[in-house]
């Protein structure tokens, strides 16, 4: 284990799609990508965990419902309890909601169509393990690709999410203005990502791992990974 290289774990579930892209993004950003397996009870001494996008267990029952109870998730929950940084992307976000580590749920897009395009996200808080290098109000460019990304929550959950500042990203214009025309999937209050109360568990529908390489697209994901690395090196959760 390098002294200045964070070990970032990426969990592969049956049906994960973006695990390899997440590992590649970690390496491109200067971290050490560590592959984790859904059926193991071993986090291999990583300093942060990424739950990647895809269709774990074929989206059977509900997106993320089966993966939320996979053996590795017991370890992830314990790691999160100890303050370890956990990032769920797309299906990983759905898994975190299904496991109860994050509030809310993701349902079919308002348009009923699968959407694959770049969006602008307005950063709502720097108080998470993936936004330490960002400033509230700042916007970043990141792609989305999902059919079931409309964030919803019960009235009680929503009151808590907004009241305690648990929204991490909202869909917006380039200038940070929110509105239905900038909300791709109908998400409640334009919510693209949320955090837990401690800020060490974050889930979002957009894909920062697809936005780190300037040769192939926008680079809005770089600050997300840099923030995650800094949190990982700070040592919580080990």
């Amino acid at each position: 284990m390098g002294v200045t290289t964070p070990r970032i774990g990426v969990v592969t579930f049956p049906g994960s799609l973006d695990d390899r892209d997440a590992l590649r993004a970690v390496e491109l950003m200067g971290g050490e990508g560590v592959s984790l397996w859904h059926a193991d009870h071993d986090l291999r001494d990583v300093q942060a965990v990424i739950l990647p996008g895809g269709y774990s267990y074929g989206d059977y029952l509900r997106c993320g419902a089966i993966a939320a109870h996979a053996p590795i998730m017991q370890e992830v929950a314990g790691f999160a309890d100890r303050g370890g940084p956990v990032l769920g992307i797309c299906n990983g976000f759905q898994i975190l909601c299904e496991s109860g580590l994050l509030p809310g749920a993701l349902i079919r897009n308002r348009s009923l169509r699968f959407i694959c395009r770049e969006v602008w996200l307005r950063v709502e808080t720097a108080g998470t393990v993936v936004t330490g290098d960002l400033t509230p109000g700042e916007t970043i460019r990141i792609p989305i690709k999902h059919g079931e990304g409309q964030f919803v929550a019960t009235d009680d959950q929503l009151a808590r999410i907004e009241g305690e500042g648990l929204v991490v990203f909202r869909y917006s214009s380039r200038d940070g203005v929110t509105g239905d025309e900038h909300n791709p999937n109908g998400a409640t209050n334009h919510i693209a990502g949320v955090r837990n109360a401690q800020g060490n568990v974050v889930g979002l529908m957009p894909h920062p791992e697809h936005a780190v390489d300037p040769d192939v697209g926008p680079t809005g994901g770089q600050a997300v990974f840099a923030s995650l690395f800094a949190s990982a090196m700070a040592g919580a959760g080990a």
Partner: protein
């Protein structure tokens, strides 16, 4: 121990868009049914369960319906029918 058969119906909460229901509703007029509305498509889960009593069995089914078979944020469930074997 006895074996009990349960059926659990899971449906999206009212007010949440149900694309499958919408598609079915859009197709029925082609067969002549222009008088159908509010179509909702849910999930039907059937299984056998070993338990000491029907009451114990039902409690377990309610627990699994809450924790896995449905997501209480977006779905309601109904335990439909039981039969002892």
């Amino acid at each position: 121990m006895s074996t009990f058969t349960f059926e659990v119906l899971v449906s999206l909460k009212n007010g949440l868009a149900d694309p499958q229901g919408k598609a079915v509703e859009g197709s029925l007029p082609a067969l002549g049914w222009t008088n159908v509305s509010n179509v909702r498509v849910g999930k039907h889960v059937r299984f056998d369960l070993e338990a000491t009593s029907e009451r114990d069995a039902r409690e377990q089914v309610e627990d699994m319906a809450r924790r896995l078979l449905s997501n209480p944020v977006i779905e309601d469930f109904r335990i439909l029918a039981t039969e002892g074997a």
